[in-house]
Structures are given as structure tokens and as C-alpha cells.
């Protein structure tokens, strides 16, 4: 019996500029930068056929193959783009005599949920969660749960507040055991249910994300909880949901607490509760941090106020007017010269 080969070759970190040739499809991938480490491997931004895409390189060929297959099936089943990152190819890349399994997909631009809320303000938390739930509902309707839902696997478009899920390594058919999870977002770890993939599992993680966005749990507290029984973890979590913390987020916290306890029957009910928090804020000033002229975000306060306010005539508009006038004059002159 030969035991010479280690199960999985340890994964090196590829430096920017490295060109990785694909073994089966002949494409080349030039590493631009490391994006992050996901469940099944490391994600890089690369140049592929003169376009920027994301590739995930793993150690475990089975895991990468499975992630690709699940994403492919789900993409085919959903039929519309923009929910799952667009999938390109599944291949092996060669480097230094070793072969690593890889999958190439769309590179999604945007900011982390923390950054988004940091820029736009806490009143956006229910909007973000509501959008995220909509995404999750689409997956659930196709028989899958996302499972490894956490801040790092979520990206928001800075301008449209659109939520994009980015790491599908945890995607699991509903009813099976969850394979990839992060303790902080794991229902079973907090003693609040099983570790079976179902819509409630995702709802729990979503609610926990909400709590994290209001105020993150101290890592030292988490370390301490690792040596405590699930009942103590549960009590800790409930203490963080109480309405006694007076920070203006009591209403949101009450909704999140209901979701953590599994009191919403389905994600849509949770989403509607969140949406009920979105009332027009009359007379309140828009936060100066929001970029003024570019407001394309249909949000809790944006649309109504914009309808009432007339835009000021600024320098850009004058510039445009002059440019258009000059252009018309020149074209007119040319036309006149031509007709001579």
C-alpha cells in the first residue's frame, strides 16, 4: 500500500503578476491581487482574456468540483443573471509542478456590509437585510440553503444597495447537513437549533448579521463562549437583543430577536417585518456622507425628498450648455460650408 502522497497539497499564496496556465481549457490567468479566503479555497482577482474575473483555487478537487456543479445547477434553475456570480469555467491550474483545482467566475464589485452601513448610516440596516432575504428566498425556492452566510460572503453595491452573495462553497440542498459554517453565524453553535440546511438556518444567520451591524460582538467574548455550554451562549445572545439598550435600534432589535428565536414562519415574513421599519423621515436632513448629486438609491428617505427639491443649476450644467451650443454652432457652420 502506498501512502507517499499527502491527501491535499498545501496551497501556496500566489503573488500578483504570476501567470497560471489552465490545464484543460488552455486559458491563462494573471494574478492581480488576493481577494480573500473562502470555505474551499483562496479567491484571487485575475486577468482572463483581458477582463478582470475572480478565480477560486482550492486544495480539494472534490470540493471545488462540487461547488462548481451546485452553482451551475442553480444558475440553470434560476435562469436570470445577477443572483449568482456568472460562472465561467472549471479547470486545473499548474504552478511549480503542482496542479490545483480552480473555478473562474464573475468578479463582483462593491463594499462589505459594515462599510456600506458605515457610509450610509444605520437606518440602512433593515434595507440591507431585506434585500439579502430576497436573494435567499430565490435560493430556497430552488431547494437550496446558502448556509455559510456571513459578512465576508456578502457585498453591497455602493450606489444601488443591491446585495450580492459571493461565496457559494456552503450551498447545501435543503434537508442535508450543513457542511460549511462559521461559528458566529451558526444556529447550532448558539444552541438554537439543528445544523441541518433549511430556510430558518439562513434566517438565523441573517438576523445575526443584523445584530453585528448594529454592534459587533467582541472577539474576546466569543473566545470565552467557546468553552461554555450552549445554554450560556444562548443567554448571551438574548442579552444582546434586549430592548433595554437605548441606541435607537430597539425596534430593529426586537425583529431580529424574533428571527433568532425562529418565530417567523418564512423569510418573507421576516422581510416584511423589516420593511415595516422603513417610513419616510419627514423633515430630517440627509446625512452629509451620502453623495449628493448621484443619489440613485431608492431608499427610505431619498425618493420623496428628491421629488420635492429642485436641483440647483451648477457649474457642470453651465459647462454642458456651452459645449452643446458650441457643438451645434460648429456643425451648423460645417453644414453651411458643405452646401456652398
Amino acid at each position: 500500500m502506498s501512502v507517499s502522497r499527502r491527501p491535499y497539497a498545501p496551497l501556496p499564496e500566489f503573488q500578483p503578476g504570476t501567470v497560471l496556465p489552465g490545464k484543460w481549457r488552455g486559458r491563462q490567468y494573471r494574478i492581480m491581487r488576493l481577494v480573500g479566503r473562502g470555505a474551499n479555497g483562496t479567491v484571487y482577482q485575475v486577468l482572463r482574456e483581458r477582463a478582470l474575473v475572480a478565480i477560486k483555487i482550492g486544495e480539494n478537487a472534490t470540493a471545488i468540483a462540487l461547488e462548481y456543479e451546485r452553482m451551475r445547477e442553480l444558475t440553470a434553475s434560476i435562469g436570470i443573471p445577477g443572483i449568482i456570480p456568472e460562472l465561467y469555467e472549471h479547470d486545473d491550474v499548474e504552478h511549480g509542478g503542482e496542479v490545483y483545482p480552480m473555478l473562474a467566475m464573475e468578479f463582483i464589485r462593491g463594499v462589505s456590509p459594515e462599510e456600506f452601513v458605515g457610509v450610509h448610516g444605520r437606518k440602512w440596516i433593515p434595507v440591507c437585510l431585506s434585500r439579502l432575504l430576497r436573494r435567499l428566498e430565490t435560493l430556497h425556492a430552488r431547494g437550496y440553503a446558502f448556509c455559510d452566510l456571513k459578512s465576508a460572503n456578502l457585498i453591497f453595491d455602493q450606489d444601488t444597495a443591491e446585495a450580492r452573495l459571493i461565496d457559494f462553497g456552503g450551498l447545501t440542498p435543503i434537508g442535508q447537513a450543513v457542511r460549511e459554517f462559521t461559528e458566529l453565524y451558526d444556529r447550532a453553535w448558539w444552541g438554537l437549533g439543528t445544523r441541518k440546511a433549511d430556510p430558518h438556518y439562513d434566517m438565523f444567520a441573517c438576523a445575526l448579521l443584523g445584530l453585528q451591524l448594529i454592534a459587533p460582538i467582541n472577539p474576546a467574548d466569543l473566545d470565552r463562549l467557546r468553552t461554555r455550554r450552549p445554554a450560556e451562549r444562548e443567554a448571551f445572545l438574548y442579552r444582546r437583543c434586549t430592548s433595554e439598550i437605548n441606541d435607537g435600534q430597539q425596534q430593529l432589535r426586537a425583529i431580529l430577536s424574533k428571527a433568532l428565536k425562529g418565530q417567523y414562519r418564512e423569510p418573507a415574513e421576516f422581510r416584511m417585518a423589516l420593511d415595516s421599519l422603513l417610513v419616510p423621515l419627514q423633515g430630517e436632513q440627509r446625512a452629509p456622507a451620502e453623495h449628493a448629486g448621484r443619489a440613485t438609491i431608492p431608499g427610505p428617505d431619498g425618493v420623496l425628498k428628491r421629488a420635492r427639491q429642485r436641483r440647483r443649476w451648477d457649474l457642470t450644467d453651465w459647462g454642458l450648455l456651452v459645449a452643446v451650443t458650441v457643438f451645434v454652432a460648429v456643425m451648423g457652420t460645417l453644414l453651411w460650408l458643405g452646401s456652398l
Binding site: M1, V3, D91, P101, A177, E183, T194, D223, R226
Partner: protein, 248 residues
């Protein structure tokens, strides 16, 4: 072929190096020869793992056909979960590879990505549905004392993860050294009591990793025989029942 598949694996959790009894690397090799995979988790925090312990951990895992992870105690829970699951996958993958070598002279890694995907889906289904028997071999020597609460919660967590699967599971805990001077003690533990029992373990003295692994392998193999005997009994009874039915 895959009906009633039982995967048997050992998971050794230690923060030191063996210092008495048979060579654990040899024992892991014998286990592998009889279908029991051995993986190792080495814990770094203020232990006596060192370079020697780290090398031993890697060698045990290699001989045992499993994985080796050297981690901080905070990562224990997640690592145990991951190692258990990936070892199952790995074991199945090795069986499939052997079949593939016989059939087409290739291993999965040499297949085209499309074909590999089919193999992966198959492996994944069996991973979810196979019956598993896991022997946790836990070092409870003095330096582990402060880590026992974390080990207790990690075991509880592993049980939660296993319970979510479709296939059945059995968990054995083998602690070493024993509290009364024995090399190792095996506990067949039911459900959530596993964790609480293990949390109460305290011991000092030597680190007989080899004999502990040996006890663990024997425990799993005995159990396999018992289960096989039980299944035969049942088939016998069925056969008799069938015959009676025909006679009657």
C-alpha cells in the same frame, strides 16, 4: 456496493508527544490496513507539542491515511468538524480512485473537470448518507487540563454536526492515560452525555499515544464485528422466517 457502508475513523487530539508504549505511527498503519483511518489534531497553546510532537502528528496522520491539522485551541471545534467531514470524503475518494485505477487506469485528479464533477457528486452523496463510527482519542494528560472545557464543547459540537446527517453515527471517546494507571480508557457514550463526561476527565502521568490508538482501533473493530454479527442474525432470522412461511 455502497449499501450499508460504514466509515470508521479515529481522530487523535493531543498537545504533546508520545513517550511510552508502542509507536503510534505503527499502530496507525495497522489501523489503516484494517480500514480504520486516523487523523490528528495537534493543539499549540502552551503545550509540549514542539517540533517533535508536530512531526509525530504528521507521521501518524500520514500512516493512518488521514489529515493532520496543527491549531490553536479556539479553532478546535471548527477543525474537528472539518477534519471529520473531509476524512470521510477522502476515504471514499480513495476507494473510488482505486476502482478508477482498475477500470480506466486513472485517478480522479487526472480526469477532465466534467467527469470529476460526476465523481464528486457521488462522493458527496455517500458522505451524507454513509454510516460513520468515530473514535475520538483524547489526550487528557496534565497539560490538557485547561483545554478540557474547549474539548468538551468541541465534542458536543461534533455530535450536533453528525446528528444533522442522513446517515447514522456512533461516537466513542478514548481518553489516555487512564485515571487509574491504565494506558487508555474507552467510553461508549450516548448522545449529548459524551461532552459532559469528557469534560470531567483529569489525569496526569505519561502520554501513551500508541497504546491509546490501539485500544481505539480494537474498540471500533469489535463494534464492527458485533454489528456484522447482528446483521447476520437478522438475515438468518429472515431466511428462517421465509422458510417457515413457505412451509406454512
Amino acid at each position: 456496493m455502497w449499501d450499508g457502508v460504514t466509515l470508521q475513523q479515529l481522530l487523535l487530539i493531543t498537545d504533546g508527544c508520545s513517550n511510552t508504549g508502542t509507536d503510534p505511527v505503527y499502530v496507525a498503519q495497522t489501523g489503516r490496513a484494517r480500514g480504520v483511518t486516523t487523523s490528528v489534531i495537534g493543539i499549540l497553546d502552551d503545550g509540549a507539542l514542539g517540533e517533535q510532537g508536530r512531526r509525530e502528528a504528521e507521521n501518524i496522520a500520514e500512516a493512518g491515511g488521514g489529515m493532520c491539522r496543527i491549531i490553536r485551541v479556539a479553532e478546535l471545534s471548527h477543525t474537528m468538524q472539518m477534519v471529520t467531514q473531509q476524512t470521510m470524503q477522502l476515504t471514499l475518494q480513495q476507494v473510488v480512485n482505486k476502482e478508477l485505477r482498475n477500470l480506466v487506469g486513472q485517478e480522479t485528479d487526472a480526469l477532465t473537470p466534467d467527469t470529476r464533477t460526476k465523481v464528486a457528486k457521488f462522493v458527496e452523496t455517500v458522505t451524507e448518507e454513509a454510516d460513520v463510527q468515530i473514535g475520538l482519542v483524547v489526550d487528557v494528560s496534565a497539560s490538557m487540563t485547561t483545554k478540557m472545557p474547549a474539548v468538551r464543547e468541541a465534542v458536543r459540537d461534533l455530535e450536533l454536526g453528525l446528528a444533522a446527517r442522513t446517515g447514522s453515527h456512533q461516537l466513542f471517546v478514548i481518553t489516555y492515560p487512564g485515571m487509574h494507571g491504565e494506558d487508555a480508557v474507552a467510553h461508549r457514550l450516548e448522545e449529548t452525555r459524551v461532552a459532559d463526561t469528557i469534560g470531567a476527565m483529569r489525569a496526569a502521568g505519561n502520554t501513551p499515544t500508541g497504546p491509546a490508538l490501539d485500544t481505539a482501533i480494537r474498540t471500533l473493530l469489535e463494534n464492527r464485528e458485533q454489528r456484522a454479527a447482528l446483521r447476520e442474525d437478522r438475515t438468518d432470522a429472515d431466511a428462517k422466517g421465509l422458510r417457515r412461511h413457505h412451509v406454512g
